[in-house]
Symmetry: C2
Subunit: 291 residues, 2 copies
């Protein structure tokens, strides 16, 4: 049973400076019309699942948050300040089964040289159907060569930015094609990532995921899955993977913080094998994380 | 003399529905923490220069606003509602010499199915030095092939979205290289656009700009410049242009709504010719627009 969750909103006083926050009414506006987070999508975020009051993979999320900030040349987020706000958001309401906290960190009001940051908490949607029945995906061109993060760092590939309009447009394109989600492919034919998820395959007895050098986000949930896989005797690897690898894989998933592991049951309209038992094992393992 | 301008902020009641707005305190927050405009950069904008109380090229800006909305599958913005708010913002303070209104239109709070829109007005920075002394630019890889808008419309090239983090990152890269601004180049070697401007060249006696089919924004200021150029006897054309064309052009500019025409005096550290007289003529022509 999912208990009631009231949204929580905590505005950090100094997101790059020191701990401290103000609790705001989540129904009231929080961002200035002149905040670069909204006028330019100039900021970063993290989404962290909370199960039984435990923010899952919090250290990995906070580490990625700092990496994203560095890629955008934002002031280093104050880890203790954000950590305090995350736990305060969790403490601010009754025990929940599945909810998520979101960290938003922007460059702040243009010209003010003072970043903006808040933490919110909302109940998660029910992803039972996607986790058990699986999802249909389409492969969409990401438009970039797989070397883009090395050759053109100003394109911010590998940073989790607020500039996600194309991730949303790609999801609409998937819906238009009768699918649930997307796997982006590089112009040189390598599997990249979903618009808000990581690709994981069971391939030749190993659990594999695309190399993060391809200009994709390092996946926090994928990292947890690799730990679970190794405990269960599977070798794990970061590799250069192609649509052919996806087609011949024994099982494939899109994995992310809130939905966890969603088995891929079709690619571009072609049904593909799912492994219900392994999926259940992975999702149970994710739900049982103690940190 | 630039007169004092107090910021103005008008929140549209139904940005896709009917005219009507509320005037807000620009010092107070306007956007929800859960607005997709901020959490996903999922929205669009326009910036319109106001000279002597006249919003320059308003029709062209509103037409592009609607085109951007269509590319993002946002509800069609209600043209009369936005027009009313623009003029109300202009009326809300004393006469100004140079200021700008900004239109922001987002998909609204996630799940609410109700877009958010506001119009703000701020004084313009003083761009006299850039307009007269010129700017140094660097050429930066945009990472996309010039056919991207046709092959992969979900990448939203040609839409003026709130997801502008890479435009800001590219500008920082230019500063790091000792330059003022950027011209993006496609992977197949064609000049595209600046992060917030259009490229215009004087080439072989004509005034030319890159074709908008290359996945770039149609420029409202560039369009006005083409009108001015034709009145002055110059043929105008939309073409496929290369860095070599930029190097051999008699004159080159980055043009945009607030800065107007900034002559390019150096490319990747190499000085290039400017045409002070023609620049002055273009900027006078832009400032004299009556609509």
């Amino acid at each position: 049973m999912v208990s009631m969750v009231t949204p929580v909103l905590l505005l950090l006083r100094e997101p790059a400076g020191s701990p401290g926050f103000d609790r705001l009414d989540p129904g009231q506006p929080v961002a200035s019309a002149f905040d670069l987070g909204i006028t330019r999508g100039d900021g970063i975020f993290e989404t962290i699942t909370v199960i039984d009051g435990i923010p899952q993979a919090l250290d990995a999320h906070l580490a990625r948050f700092s990496r994203s900030a560095a890629l955008l040349e934002l002031p280093e987020p104050h880890q203790a300040a954000w950590r305090e706000a995350v736990f305060a958001a969790i403490d601010a309401h009754d025990e929940t089964i599945e909810a998520f906290v979101k960290l938003i960190y922007t460059r702040g009001i243009e010209g003010a040289d003072s970043p903006t940051g808040w933490v919110s908490m909302l109940p998660s949607a029910d992803f039972t159907a996607q986790r058990t029945d699986g999802i249909a995906v389409v492969l969409l061109d990401r438009g970039y060569h797989s070397t883009i993060a090395q050759t053109s760092p100003w394109l911010l590939q590998g940073a989790k930015t607020l500039s996600y309009a194309i991730n949303r447009a790609a999801a609409r394109e998937a819906n238009r094609r009768g699918a649930d989600d997307v796997i982006f492919v590089s112009t040189d034919g390598l599997l990249l990532e979903g618009p808000s998820s990581t690709v994981v395959l069971k391939l030749d007895g190993r659990i594999v995921t695309p190399e993060t050098t391809l200009g994709i986000l390092p996946g926090t949930t994928q990292e947890s899955i690799f730990e679970i896989a190794r405990v269960n005797g599977y070798p794990t690897a970061y590799e250069r993977l192609t649509p052919d690898d996806l087609a011949r894989a024994d099982a494939a998933w899109l994995v992310s913080s809130v939905r966890n592991a969603a088995p891929i049951r079709a690619v571009d309209g072609q049904a593909r094998a799912v492994d219900a038992e392994l999926t259940e094992s992975i999702n149970s393992g994710l739900a049982a994380r103690t940190q």
